[in-house]
């Protein structure tokens, strides 16, 4: 079998389309918060939630009892609930004496479980009979046909065949298949965790896997013959086609079949999908593998497993199952009931015995008995629930008066309402949250300050900044601003001593400029003793054999380390740090290189390489190597015409050896024109031009409305977290910096803004930075709330006098914020703020601490406006705060930029928390306690599972219940209504998010003193809290 190019492309495009609902999964080193239903954002929220639940077998809303708890403690709005219920009831036909509004409210607020239990065996007549206590009508004559139709819809179409076989025979092929696929993925996608890697990975996933699978003895011993399937075609597309045709899947179902296959391991599928899109990812370039490969591996193993189990159960193709449904409907029904876990427990044994016997007459008798019992059971259960509802609604007798038609209408209405119940609760919770915000925000004219503040601080918009900002404003004359934590400067950062770039920007932005970190202390080739020892220990631990032989020799050392970390994490870690080498003092290479400078850098590098090469190849001592020698060799390698006579004499080698050396320099040491061009190109990416720097600085400051009145200190506070033994550490870092610490971004913009020539240009752009203003970068450690300033050695001496006051303010704010936050993490909280701060420090160093901080949990609001709007309002660390002043943005460009970047990232964060909280097992990653790192890029539960996406239970749940209150992101923009509306309309992606209900949008218009709320496709307005003047802070 060999496919044409067109057929191959068809398979590829089908898989591409099928994978769209599967969200990307980024490696956890740079954890990216994302919406698990991102692929369905083109749909309205309610519709996407329903579809997502089906695809990923997850829950999109909390259980009713949880919402009832929210209602009882005032976190859901009863009036809103009543209005939604009234609206729904009004759209339904009259049902006898049933007060539908009251019934529905009772259903929502007093019933623990769903009331409607539907089953194809029971109709309204049966329920009516059960209500009146009469016997059920005989089972319908066409029952077999009804059941066959139901079985076809449940077992055929796009359902993976092995799932159907499992549902009929209980042979668990699906579980075995997932296990084998996960093992294959772990082998191929490993990024250095395994000691023995899969051979020949560079040929691609499917081919590398095929090479190994053909000779896999374990598969052979299990009777899984993959070789014959792989032989069918060389290409993954061909194998996929072969398997689908063998299984008899109709071509019109292939795309949805692929989606269901991918959704079974959506973590791995999401990772491979992301990896496929990240063309510059180191491992993608090294070991290519895409979803087509993944699908081919999965399909091959699926068919092999089906064929192996086929020895016992002949029906493993679509047509065979179809024919069984038609010819042995009763047996298949009983099988589906039993193995699909739908069987009535009381009859489980009887059904099991009948199925095991294989006797048709016993099967027939059991079927008749079972169907009758089930009909009675379902009808009675339904009646019981209806009666309980009627009684609670105060209409106990109403049910007995209803006709069959009225019961039908009642059941239909209840069924329709329960289907949309989740949205009712969600809207009611959001109404309450919006009301809380509207009551808290205060609208007033801009504050006129008598003198400039002592310091201004720019924090990330992150919800965790809100607390520390509030406290900083409270302890002194500080003015704070919120701005996306990359400060508007997308940077590709190359850290000192690392060979790869990290993107410090929101994931939707690709940085063009590279910033290098260079040391001011010179390069040291010595490694601290402890660091070297740690490396050696790590190697020993990772090796295959060494743990067996070294455990007794060095196991004790690990034991001591473990005791130290466990008993006294803070003291032990502080003591241990003394043995580590401190990071040297560094500067960032920010300025663009001129062509001459770049050329000089390339020459310098080439020179250093040639010296090493001559030492290696000719065994020369360094003092024997002269400048002329190096120059000559370089010119030859760079293919510039060169007289070689003197050079040959100096090197004292034959011409033949000389030519070999030059060739070696060109090929081995990459001293050649094309590589030099590439180096020049790379060097061209380094740094920013003066214009770029001025634009970034002016843009960042204007976007937050800081264009004048600069104080002496402008603190640029990036943020990051610090915890031990935590694969999710990066999830606690700055999302705007691509899941990295924000310090580098802070250093970049501070370094730019402190340059006189940049300031000059910025001033021309209307941002008047005073001459004595100094930008100081710093880091807000969100685990401890510590605020630490950096690059103080570059500060002008005139500012050093004020440094003590500045530090005192920062320390006080840190301690107070830690004291406010600590009660959310632990029960015993010291009264003293300093001790509370020390407790948070201990948490950050404790390797057994599964919850070093709550991260962005409980995020709820995104406020785009001046700080004065919420300065007097304790937002309890629940709001993203993006400073914005519409008065400096007449063309709405800054607002558009805020809603395009930070707001979208905020929405991803919000949705990730939402779904992880409502269904932590399916959309979240379950408990951290069972997690194991997989391949160095993800985590699995136990030793083998799908890659766990989403957030762990320790981040969103508290004692099994949501700590994060799941609502959609409530966004408030402070601007004239038309100004905000036009900005939203101009950004298509955001417009769709708002219209489809993924974001709840409000606009507070300071010019008319009103709040506009977007709901159900239209705007409604209400008055805002307006004050004449706002108090000047501290």
């Amino acid at each position: 079998m060999s496919l044409s190019l067109g057929e191959k492309l068809k398979i590829r495009s089908m898989i591409y389309v099928a994978a769209e609902p599967v969200p990307f999964f980024w490696p956890m080193r740079t954890f990216i918060h994302h919406n698990p239903l991102h692929g369905l954002e083109h749909l309205p929220f309610a519709e996407a939630a329903e579809k997502g639940s089906k695809i990923f077998h997850g829950r999109s809303f909390l259980p009713r009892t949880m919402y009832q708890e929210y209602l009882s403690c005032g976190k859901a709005d009863r009036k809103k609930l009543e209005s939604i219920v009234a609206e729904f009831a009004d759209s339904q036909p009259e049902i006898g004496g049933v007060d539908l509004k009251r019934w529905l409210m009772t259903l929502l607020t007093e019933m623990d479980e769903h009331v409607i239990t539907s089953d194809v065996l029971v109709d309204t007549g049966d329920i009516h009979a059960a209500l009146s206590g009469s016997a059920l009508a005989p089972k319908p004559d066409d029952l077999s046909e009804i059941l066959a139709t139901q079985l076809r819809s449940q077992l055929l179409k796009d359902r993976p065949i092995y799932e159907s076989v499992d549902a009929l025979y209980g042979c668990k092929i699906g579980d075995d298949l997932d296990e084998l696929v996960v093992k294959s993925c772990l082998d191929f996608y490993d990024e250095g965790q395994s000691v023995w890697a899969m051979p020949k990975r560079e040929v691609g996933f499917f081919k590398a896997w095929s090479n190994v699978a053909r000779r896999n003895v374990r598969l052979f011993l299990r009777g899984i013959r993959v070789g014959e399937i792989i032989e069918e075609d060389d290409s993954p597309e061909g194998v996929i086609t072969h398997v689908l045709k063998t299984l008899g899947i109709p071509e019109q179902h292939w795309t949805s079949y692929f989606t269901r296959e991918l959704a079974r391991l959506h973590g791995w599928a999401g990772f491979i999908r992301w990896r496929e899109s990240a063309k510059n990812y180191h491992y993608t370039k090294l070991y290519p593998g895409d979803l087509v490969d993944f699908m081919a591996v999965r399909m091959t193993l699926a068919l092999a497993l089906l064929q192996e189990r086929g020895h016992y159960h002949a029906a493993y193709t679509n047509s065979a199952i179809e024919s069984l449904i038609g010819s042995q409907t009763k047996e298949i029904y009983l099988r589906h009931e039993f193995h699909g876990r739908h069987v009535m427990p009381a009859m489980a044994h009887k059904v099991d015995v009948a199925l095991a016997s294989g006797k048709q007459d016993l099967m027939e008798d059991t079927f008749n008995e079972y169907v009758q019992a089930k009909r009675l059971n379902v009808a009675n259960a339904q009646v019981e629930k209806l009666r309980a509802l009627a009684q609670k609604a105060g209409d106990a007798g109403a049910l007995d008066q209803l006709s069959v038609e009225q019961i039908f209408s009642l059941l239909e209405a209840l069924h329709a309402f329960e289907k949309q119940e989740g949205m009712c609760w969600l809207r009611s919770m959001e109404e309450q949250a919006m009301e809380h915000l509207i009551e808290g925000v205060t609208l007033g004219p801009p504050v006129q300050r008598k003198k400039r503040p002592f310091a201004q601080a720019l924090f990330c918009i992150d919800v965790r900044s809100e607390r520390v900002r509030r406290h900083l404003e409270g302890v002194g004359d500080y003015q704070t601003y919120g701005i996306a934590g990359f400060f508007g400067v997308p940077v590709s950062f190359m850290e000192l001593g690392k060979g790869s770039e990290s993107h410090l920007a929101p994931v939707i932005v690709t940085p063009k400029n590279v910033v290098l970190e260079v040391t001011t202390d010179g390069v040291s080739e010595d490694t601290a003793a402890l660091t070297a020892l740690e490396h050696a220990m790590h190697e020993l631990k990772e090796s295959v054999v060494s743990p067996f032989v070294t455990v007794e020799a060095i196991g004790l050392l690990f034991g001591l380390d473990m005791i130290g970390k466990t008993i006294a994490p803070k003291s032990y870690n502080t003591w241990r740090k003394r043995f580590h080498e401190d990071k040297p003092s560094t500067l960032l290479l920010l300025d663009k290189l001129t062509r001459e400078q770049a050329d000089s850098v390339v020459r310098t590098v080439q020179r250093a390489v040639i010296i090493k090469a001559v030492e290696q190849e000719l065994e020369f001592k360094p003092e024997q190597i002269t400048d002329d020698m190096i120059r000559g060799l370089r010119e030859c390698a760079m293919e510039n015409p060169q007289e070689t006579g003197d050079l040959l004499r100096e090197l004292n080698i034959s011409e033949e050896r000389f030519n070999t050396l030059v060739k070696r320099l060109q090929d081995g040491y990459r001293i050649n024109p094309s590589f030099a061009d590439r180096q020049m190109e790379q060097l061209g990416r380094i740094g920013f031009s003066l214009d770029e720097q001025a634009n970034f600085v002016a843009g960042a400051l204007s976007s937050i409305g800081l264009t004048k009145g600069f104080s002496r200190f402008i603190l640029i506070m990036g943020h990051g977290s610090c915890s031990d033994n935590n694969p999710y550490e990066s999830a606690l870092d700055c999302g705007a910096c691509g899941g990295n610490h924000g310090l580098v971004s802070a250093r970049v913009i501070a370094q730019m803004a402190n340059k006189p020539e940049v300031r000059k240009r910025v001033r021309e752009m209307g941002v008047d930075i005073s001459d004595d203003a100094w930008f100081v970068p710093g880091l807000h450690n969100t685990t401890t709330d510590e605020l630490k300033l950096h690059d103080l050695d570059t500060m002008p001496p005139s500012h050093l006098f004020y440094l003590d006051r500045l530090n005192t303010g920062l320390v006080s704010a840190s301690h107070l914020a830690a004291q406010e936050r600590l009660p959310t993490l632990q029960k015993s909280v010291p009264e003293n703020a300093t001790r509370a701060f020390l407790e948070t420090q201990r948490n950050s160093m404790d390797w057994s601490q599964v919850r070093p901080e709550w991260g962005l949990s409980r995020n709820c609001y995104f406020i785009i406006g001046r700080r004065e709007l919420t300065q007097q309002f304790n937002l309890d660390g629940r709001s993203f705060l993006n400073s914005y002043d519409y008065r400096v943005d007449p063309k709405r460009r800054l607002l558009e930029s805020i809603i395009t970047g930070p707001l979208v990232v905020g929405q991803w964060i919000n949705m990730e928390h939402y779904f992880s909280a409502v269904d932590n097992e399916n959309f979240g990653s379950g408990s951290k306690a069972y997690h194991n790192v997989a391949g160095r890029f993800g985590v699995m539960t136990g030793n083998l599972s799908d890659l766990r996406t989403g957030l762990p239970s320790q981040t969103v749940l508290h004692e099994g219940k949501p700590y994060h209150e799941p609502v959609r992101l409530i966004t408030l923009i402070e601007a004239p209504f038309e100004h905000a509306q036009r900005a939203v309309e101009a950004v298509v992606s955001v417009k769709h998010l708002v219209r489809n209900g993924w974001i709840r949008l409000m606009v507070i218009d300071p010019e008319v003193g009103k709040i506009f709320i977007f709901e159900d496709g239209q705007w409604r307005s209400r008055p805002a809290n307006v004050v004449e003047t706002l108090e000047e802070s501290a």
Binding site: P63, E113, R341, V343, P345, A346, M347, A348, H349
Partner: protein
């Protein structure tokens, strides 16, 4: 006469195929109290008959008993209905009583104690299966997994009782198995091996039972079910503690 008594004892300390009588009777009896009575009395009759016979148990009968124990242990591996599981495991463990009775000088009281040590945890498991039936309509493994988190007290009791059934150290059944082992091991390695296999089968069957009920993802119906009351749990716990203490006492008796 003694031979007939011994053969009759094969009904009560069941030997295959005589064991079918007990299993048939147990399966037909739907009343839990009667089942408990059967579990309690049935092996005691067997013990009494053997003691009354005054005969030494012949070697071929010991092999027969071991084969029965292995066979029923093996059958229990695939059983999903808990009361049936109890019945089959009872048959398997009681068969081991023949090896205990081979003990020189073991009197009726001693043997009755061991038989009770086998019966008591089975009775507890039967009672716990009633708790499951009350909540889910049947005590059947694999239908509703994942009880451990939503019903922690009931799950804990099931685990402890199953451990007692499968003769885990400290429980009385362990003493009985050890007594049997000490009886046969010095004379016959093969019989010791067969006893170990039977013991292994019980452990395996017990693990499958626990896995089929307590482990895995919980299904929707489970979350709404109430756990066993703490009062009841305490009663079970006290009985378990008494069993452990008597198990320790019985081990001491071996010395």
């Amino acid at each position: 006469m003694s031979g007939i008594l011994l053969l009759l004892a094969g009904l009560f300390l069941p030997l295959f195929p005589l064991s079918m009588v007990f299993n048939g009777l147990f399966g037909r009896m739907q009343n839990r109290t009667l089942r408990i009575a059967l579990l309690l009395i049935w092996p005691q009759i067997g013990v009494a008959l053997v003691v009354a016979s005054g005969m030494d148990v012949p070697g071929w009968m010991l092999v027969w008993a071991l084969l029965t124990a292995i066979f029923y242990g093996f059958r229990a591996l695939v059983l999903r209905e808990v009361s049936l599981w109890v019945s089959f495991i009872a048959t398997s463990v009681w068969a081991v009583m023949w090896l205990v009775m081979d003990s020189q000088g073991a009197g009726w009281y001693e043997l009755a104690k061991y038989a009770l040590g086998f019966s008591l945890p089975l009775i507890l498991l039967l009672l716990l299966s009633g708790e499951l039936e009350q909540r889910f309509g049947a005590a059947y493994t694999g239908l509703y997994n994942g009880l451990a988190q939503p019903l922690p007290r009931l799950s804990w009791l099931i685990v402890m009782v199953v451990l007692a059934v499968i003769a885990t150290p400290l429980f009385p059944a362990f003493s009985a198995v050890m007594a049997a082992m000490l009886n046969v091991a010095p004379d016959s390695f093969m019989m010791a091996l067969m006893l170990s296999i039977a013991w292994f089968m019980w452990g395996w069957a017990g693990a499958r039972l626990i896995q089929g009920l307590l482990i895995g993802k919980e299904t929707g119906a489970i979350a709404t079910q109430a756990d066993i009351s703490s009062g009841k749990a305490w009663i079970y716990a006290v009985v378990l503690v008494v069993m452990v203490l008597s198990g320790i006492y019985m081990i001491g008796g071996l010395a």
